[in-house]
Amino acid sequence: MTNRPRLPDPNGPELADSTLAVHAGEDRLKVGNAMTDAIFCSATYTFPDTQAAIDYATLKLPREEYGRYGNPTERVAERKLAALEGGEGAILYSTGMAAISSLLMATLQSGDEVVLFDECYHRTRELCKKHLGKFGVVTHQVPACDYERMEAAINERTRLLISESPTNPHLSVVDLERFASLGKKHQVATMIDATLATPYNVKPLSYGIDYVVHSCTKYLGGHNDLLGGAVIGSEQALEPVRALRGATGMCIGPHEVYLLLRGIKTFELRMLRHNENGLRVARFLEGHPRVEKVYYPGLESHRDHEVAKRTMRGYGGLITFLVKDADHVQTAAVVDATTIPRIGPSLGGVESLIEQPIVMSYHSFTKEQREAVGIRDNMIRLACGIENPEDLIADLKQALER
């Protein structure tokens, strides 16, 4: 039997996301006729003779050379992610931060400027302001979803517009069409960290965004057992980014790539469940007398609900809420009284996680610094896993009503 084309086959039928998650990017006949992709641990790849090595170098033949430049298992995962995002290509990294920092380093140089929506993973903010600042890159921070302020901050040195969507931990949702058109109008590249959205809920490239980045540590891996990151876009946009990875070497390991591939097989199922759990738990919290406010884009009360409804298929598993009339100790008591979610940072895995941002991500911030980015003492961030939603709700109820 001859090998069939990889899916999605441009000449074949269009396939749904669940089918892509299982099959996209994989060879139909694999090494040894195996059902699943092999884990290639090889650090280097050999040539049958010198001429073959010369041919590879001069003709740029599509084959492996050395692990830092690519690995067969990794390429499968990159093609799968590209297919799910509707991009031409993807590049994998050792972590989400490696993906973000690589993209920034590949697209920016000294004297360039970036404009950033201020609500984002604090390490991304730190990376731009502190580390890139050292190399002479200037960062302008504007309030999330304030497109006028963003436009006002753009000048002829601006090279990149950056946002997350939804943002962490306030779950603001960016109007991607508007964000992309700002970039197009001023000929500035746009990057969306869509870690919290995932390609199941939104596909930013389809709105004209140039780069999508993910912490694959979260929903894509999905089992809290791997670190990884990805940049996805058109081949042209990715070219300098790929070249830089070969130079800096922020590669993901083959075992982690395999776990990522395996995680993506159940991606749609998990997302459906995260979305359902997120919405049900958010509604429960909103109706609870001990809860002051719930940040969840699926709730009508959320500032960006209209944008979210228009652009997202579901709203994910992350919920942020404020405990009514509680100081940080009383808030901690709610966290500590839960029995199903484990206390810890991160999100997107099958296991629910809960944390108080002031003691985790924002522990080193002063109160003023925290308040400037909207982090309150009575704030709890809950990353719903895929447990039974009634179990989660019952657990939160007893924790709030203690």
Binding site: S18, T19, R262, E387, N388, E390, D391
Partner: protein, 390 residues
């Protein structure tokens, strides 16, 4: 806690040393002991391993047992059960048991002076009549392979116990999501973890779960003495698979049900064998014994000959041509030329496995994508001149 929550949390408590939300994979073969003659929880990896123990704890919870044992393969697990027997004992198994079980009983177990016979477990009177005074073990499977016959587990438990035998159930096809045999009176439940439990075509493994501590101790002794334990990396992958077990199985069953209904109304198909169809002979029992769904295995006969069925099985693009089952990838096979090719044709036909039979293991792909794929493959049937043309 509900099933899905237990699948994620029971056995997977946070690592006490580091707080890791996913426990480390313990590859160590031996463990340092507190003192000479004093034993810690783990001593040597064949006797016990923390990563394997975590999987066993989850499985015991999901199957409502007192304990579980993880084996190197499904066959190793069944073999573990047969080692409970002694020369002179008799085993009665259902006629629809997996071929590897048939081979184990008739070519390996029998050499120890153990008598083996088969009887149809779907006919309870005939099944009970086949029990002998020395019958110690009754072994059944539901749904059966490849005809998806349904066996009444509670009734078989009563029969076995009436005659002083243990009932073992191979629950590989149903999974604990749908059927928990120990709750229905069975003594031992067995899995090829290679299938739905692992779920990703990348773990070879097996498991036994029991209700009775004394029986657990005997099985544990045999496993430790003979050594067919599941390795730590496989235990980890299997535990990881179980976290999405309920989601996968329910979704795969939903798609299988829709495919069965669609195939049932298609005139290129002679008959569909799926317990979720009301005219399936085991439908009523399945509706009682399986929790809200009928499994993700489905067989059908095309209206055509051996060559036509072979053509169909070779023409799908999403369904891949392979044996095994239970994973996220959909598989197709022709029992007459693949899983049951070792039978001679008359024996195979007598068993109800006809030339036109095709078996599907329905995976996680989108229903319409799978339907479209089968539809184009079935084009061979009209061309070959199927029933509707005759």
């Amino acid at each position: 806690m509900k099933f899905r929550t237990r699948a994620i949390h029971v056995g997977n408590e946070r690592d006490p040393l580091t707080g890791a939300v996913v426990r480390p994979i313990h590859l160590a073969t031996t463990y340092v002991q507190p003192g000479a003659g004093e034993w810690g929880e783990f001593d040597y990896s064949r006797s016990g391993n923390p990563t394997r123990k975590a999987l066993e704890t989850t499985l015991a919870s999901l199957e409502s047992g007192c304990g579980a044992l993880a084996y190197a393969s499904g066959m190793a697990a069944i073999h573990g059960v047969t080692m409970l027997l002694s020369a002179g004992d008799h085993v009665l198994a259902g006629t629809d048991v997996y071929g590897g079980t048939y081979r184990l009983l008739h070519k390996v177990v029998n050499r120890a002076g153990i008598d083996v016979s088969l009887a149809p477990a779907t006919d309870l009177d005939a099944f009970e009549a086949a029990i002998r005074p020395e019958t110690r073990l009754v072994w059944i499977e539901s749904p059966g392979n490849p005809l998806l016959s349904i066996t009444d587990i509670a009734a078989c438990a009563e029969i076995a116990h009436r005659h002083g035998a243990l009932l073992g159930v191979d629950n590989t096809f149903a999974t604990p999501v749908l059927t928990r045999p120990l709750e229905l009176g069975a003594d031992i439940v067995m899995h090829s973890a290679t299938k739905y439990l692992g779920g990703h075509s990348d773990v070879l493994g097996g498991a036994l779960v029991v209700r009775d501590k004394e029986l657990y101790d005997r099985l544990y002794f045999l496993q430790n003495a003979t050594g067919a334990v599941l390795a730590p990396l496989e235990s980890f992958l299997c535990s990881r698979g179980i976290k999405t077990l309920e989601l996968r199985v329910r979704e795969q069953c939903r798609t299988a049900q829709r495919l069965a209904e669609w195939l049932d109304g298609d005139d290129r198909i002679a008959r569909v064998l799926y317990p979720g169809l009301p005219d399936h002979p085991g439908h009523a029992i399945a509706a009682r014994q399986m929790d809200g769904a009928f499994g993700a295995m489905l067989s059908f006969e095309v209206a055509g000959d051996f060559a036509a069925a072979k053509r169909v099985a070779e023409s799908t693009k999403l369904f891949q041509l392979a044996v095994s089952l239970g994973a996220v990838e959909s598989l197709i096979e022709q029992p007459a030329s693949m899983s049951h090719a070792s039978y001679d044709r008359d024996a195979r036909l007598a068993h109800g496995i006809r030339d036109g039979l095709i078996r599907l293991s329905v995976g996680l792909e989108d229903f319409e994508d799978l339907q479209g794929d089968l539809d184009q493959a079935l084009a061979w049937i009209s061309q070959a001149g199927g029933r509707h043309l005759a």
